[in-house]
């Protein structure tokens, strides 16, 4: 029994982790917290495999020649990396994993609106993942995660690449799409129906606004992906001409369909991350978030504009110049809400009382990286420069700054922020900071170099760069920057392994977490760590969740408590 045990575990003896036991009590649970934890473990497992694929790619590119992976292996590897990261990791990471755990508690609710649907979403995720495994067992695929036609339609005999896994992989993505739709639907209804009395729309934590905007995209855009993938399966299996010009189809139509989902999907990945950052920056600065309404509306604005800009992925595809110009113009409109958020976060830091805890370090890393990722979007939204940069490493660097450097960093920030709540334990703060530093520097070394590669003209998805085929000067430049990019990726991997180490360690040996280790004002910090099975023993009081004036630091429990509590619990 920990010395902190009694003062923190105010309510009953059991929590959601110890409430019931056994495999089935998890596999068939309707508890949003357990489902969130299962998502978390599953998503991180997929992240591990997709990350290993990325390391294999980087290792191959450290030197010219096919010294580590053959061309076929390389092509399959980047397909696996992309498909896993997008469909299994990025899309569910924040909404399904973090959102599931946090959202109902933030609302002071006992659970989401449809707990059974929630469990069903999770098992759909598992089914989708199994289809991906099946795709690898049936010969793999090398289409890239984008499945561009007509390459993805033609059979093994026309291409020497691997194609057996295309239909299983498409089916997997299709199923995962439904998992995402159901999660979105569930959250929309939960936010509409289960807010406690007193929590008006503009009193919701900003994370919930972000999740809400995300859920709208999930529900509205994902069906398009489902239809597109289904058409592709039909075309591939039965030879019906839809996207294949040899059968009278149109490959550019496929790109329109694909990006009509996949551009908004970018916001499914980044918006919830932005929501996390709004929480982290305010809580760890112990200061009211600045410009609440602008941040909330900018989430909604991003969700809406996000539907209108898909054509910026297709500036060189052969779509008409007029369309290109229109898509370019609308694309710039998305940059404004993002800029608003960054400035509001900065203003929140101003005159705050900043604690450089591990979650805050992730939030600051996010600010740095997202600024670069967002600004380099200007090069790509601009027509004249995008023509040169499209399909080069510049694009690879840009979207990794936004997906990996922003969405995933935010997710890890959130993980460290809510870890005490999820597990009831504190991790080693020093190791946490070191790991964050390794990830931050490793990440920038890996991907900043790729902006330079791309400007110089290095095309993406190249298994090799060779002195025989390229001009000597270009070859030298590519070799140099590829080398440093690979070194960076190893530093980043080291950071992640360290993180894995201390997080696992903390589950067994970590200090008992206080209910409110960081001084957060939203409702999840009012229930115990870890929360009881039904979250709140008595209905929580709802106030301004960004008002920290009532929270007092308590040296004894190494955490915060509310001033009115302080009066009663003073033993």
């Amino acid at each position: 029994m920990s010395i902190y045990g009694d003062s923190t575990k105010a309510s009953s003896g059991t929590n959601y982790l110890t409430h019931t036991r056994g495999f089935l009590s998890w596999a068939l649970t309707l508890d949003h917290k357990r489902i969130g934890v299962m998502y978390l473990v599953s998503v991180l497992t997929a992240f591990f495999f997709a990350g290993m694929a990325a390391m294999a790619l980087r290792l191959e590119l450290i030197a010219p020649g096919e010294w580590f992976l053959s061309q076929d292996n390389y092509n399959q590897m980047f397909t696996v990396h992309g498909a896993l990261m997008v469909f299994l990791v990025l899309i569910p990471a924040v909404p399904a994993a973090m959102g599931n755990f946090v959202l109902p508690i933030m609302l002071g609710a006992k659970d989401v609106a449809f707990p059974r649907l929630n469990l069903f979403s999770y098992w759909l995720w598992v089914t989708g993942a199994l289809f991906f495994v099946l795709a690898l067992l049936t010969g793999g695929l090398d289409t890239g995660w984008t499945f561009y036609t007509p390459y993805s339609i033609e059979g093994d005999d026309h291409m020497s690449g691997a194609m057996g896994g295309v239909i299983p992989a498409l089916t997997g993505a299709f199923v995962l799409g439904f998992s995402s739709i159901f999660t979105g639907l569930n959250f929309i209804v939960t936010i509409h129906r289960l807010r406690p009395p007193g929590m008006t729309w503009f009193r919701m934590p900003l994370f919930l606004w972000a999740i809400y905007a995300t859920a709208i995209i999930q529900v509205m855009a994902t069906p398009i992906l489902g239809i597109t993938l289904a058409l592709l399966i039909v075309e591939r299996a039965f030879g019906i001409g839809i996207f294949n010009p040899a059968l009278g189809g149109d490959p550019v139509l496929y790109q329109h369909f694909f990006w009509f989902y996949s551009h908004p999907a970018v916001y499914i990945m980044i918006l919830p991350g932005m929501g996390i950052i709004s929480e982290l920056i305010s809580v760890h600065s112990h200061k009211h978030i600045f410009g609440y309404r602008f941040i909330a509306f900018s989430s909604v604005a991003i969700a809406i504009f996000g539907f209108l800009v898909w054509g910026h992925h297709m500036f060189t595809s052969g779509q008409s110049p007029l369309m290109n110009i229109m898509f370019s113009a609308i694309t710039f409109s998305v940059s404004i809400p993002s800029a608003i958020k960054v400035f509001n976060w900065l203003a929140t830091l101003y005159k705050g009382s900043i604690s450089l805890n591990t979650p805050m370090l992730y939030a600051l890393s996010f600010l740095f990286i997202f600024t670069i990722g967002g600004l380099t979007g200007l090069h790509l939204g601009t027509l004249a420069t995008d023509i040169h940069l499209h399909d080069t490493y510049f694009v690879v660097a840009h979207f990794h700054y936004v997906m990996m450097g922003s969405a995933m960093i935010a997710m890890f920030g959130g993980l460290h922020h809510w870890w005490p709540k999820i597990t009831g334990r504190m991790y080693n703060e020093t190791l946490g900071r070191i790991a964050c530093g390794l990830v931050f520097f490793g990440f920038n070394a890996t991907f900043f170099t790729q902006f330079i590669l791309g400007s110089k003209g290095m095309p993406r998805r190249y298994a090799d760069y060779s002195a025989e085929l390229m001009g000597a000067e270009n070859f030298e430049i590519f070799h140099f920057w590829h080398f440093w990019s690979t070194i960076g990726s190893f530093v980043m991997a080291l950071g992640f392994f360290l993180m894995l180490g201390y997080l696992v360690h903390s589950m067994f040996k970590g200090r008992q977490a206080p209910d409110n280790p960081w001084g957060g004002g939203s409702l999840e910090w009012q229930c115990s760590s870890p929360p009881p099975h039904d979250n709140f023993s008595e209905p929580p009081t709802v106030g301004d969740c960004y008002d920290y004036s009532m929270l007092e630091w308590d040296e004894k429990i190494q955490g915060y408590h509310r001033r009115e509590e302080a009066a009663t619990s003073g033993e």
Partner: protein, 373 residues
């Protein structure tokens, strides 16, 4: 008056070395490159400004406001509408400006000038083919310097994308459509041409060169590219082998190693003895002869090139595209002759005897022609 700067730039022009682009962009070797780079530079400076501003503020705030736990924040207002409107409107104005310069640059690079010199481009897994108005067909892109060039492109199989970094041009080549691209090269020299759209196994080897030549030299080479086959002595057609082989080398090796297709080392011997086995279990021996599928070994090679799907060699796939109509009968004969005479070449296809170099043979033929006139 000639200033030193303009003198130096004249020298540079004369020496034919194009200026480097700013911020890591490649050399500027086309008429539009400088304008695109200007846009690139403007955007990059805007980025640097905001990046430095934001990171500076983060660092200052973190240093200044880092406090031990429990310290209450000094605090500010929770919002400030004029301020927030300001940081909405200022970026808005900036991005409208960026959009506008970007659009102008794009329109200039999109609309091909009238009267441009037209070259047909055929993309296929995994090679480029350039067809000239005079009938020449080559696998490197040769263009005259200072002339507007329009590429009219089509793909035989999947998506490809023609990308010349030094010219700042890129266009996806979409099967079932004709797409165009134009440029005007400003400096003589050799530039890289990449396939930028993923197109399968050997996407990363689908590269070739752009050769920018002076007008006269261009005209001479292109004419020679058209007629060189006719100038070869009929008993030494194989000297054209290495050049024609350039289109096959992404899949066929000369050194015995297996790539996408069977190696050509020993191919001729294997064909004559008829030991080749196909995926349907048949053997070449049983298919060669009067009234059978193939009249003789030469016919087998010819049909393998024109109609590769007809019989697939065991342990391979039908990955070979047809070359029907892309190689003249004479060129097919030259390739067959090359396979028969592989011992005259090393493993990279370089002739062992300098007398077998294509250029030398052509020059000799020309000399002979001139002296007979």
């Amino acid at each position: 008056m000639m200033t030193p700067a303009s003198f130096i730039s004249m020298l540079a022009l004369a020496a034919g070395s194009p200026p480097m682009g700013p911020f890591g962009m490649p050399e500027q070797a086309s008429t539009i490159a400088a304008e695109i780079d200007f846009v690139y530079q403007v955007i990059t400076w805007v980025c640097i400004f905001f990046f430095v501003l934001i990171v500076f503020l983060i660092v200052v705030f973190v240093i200044k406001y880092s406090k031990p736990p429990g310290t209450k924040a000094e605090g500010t207002a929770t919002h400030n509408t004029p301020l927030e409107v300001a940081w909405t409107v200022i970026p808005l104005i900036l991005v409208i400006g960026i959009f506008y310069v970007g659009m102008k640059g794009y329109i200039n690079m999109r609309n091909a000038p009238l009267g441009a010199y037209e070259i047909n481009v055929i993309a296929r897994q995994w090679s480029w083919q350039f067809n000239y108005p005079n009938g020449a067909t080559i696998s490197e892109l040769k263009v005259p310097r200072g002339r507007d060039i329009k590429l009219i492109m089509s793909s035989q199989d999947v998506l490809h994308s023609l990308f010349i970094p030094s010219f700042r041009v890129k266009q996806d080549v979409v099967p079932g459509r004709l797409v165009t691209l134009w440029f005007n090269a400003t400096h003589e020299g050799e530039y890289d041409l990449y396939c930028a759209e993923y197109c399968g196994q050997q996407h990363s080897t689908m590269l070739t060169k752009v050769l920018v030549l002076e007008e006269d030299e261009f005209a001479r080479q292109i004419e020679e590219d058209r007629v060189f086959m006719d100038m070869l002595p009929p008993d030494r057609l194989y000297v054209a082998g290495p050049r024609l082989y350039a289109r096959c080398k992404s899949c066929h090796s000369l050194d015995g190693s297996t790539m996408t297709g069977p190696t050509w080392k020993g191919l001729w011997e294997k064909t004559v003895s008829g030991e080749t086995v196909f995926t349907d279990g048949t053997t070449l021996k049983d298919l060669i002869g009067e009234g059978k599928m193939f009249m003789n070994p030469e016919d087998y090679i010819m049909q393998s090139i024109a109609n590769p799907q007809q019989k697939i060699v065991m342990n391979f796939t039908g990955a070979m595209p047809t070359f029907q109509g892309m190689l003249s009968p004479l060129e097919v004969m030259a390739l067959t002759d090359f396979m028969k005479n592989l011992d005259k070449f090393d493993e990279k296809g370089v002739p062992k005897d300098p007398e077998d170099e294509l250029q030398r043979v052509i020059d000799k033929a020309k000399e002979a022609e001139e002296s007979s006139n």
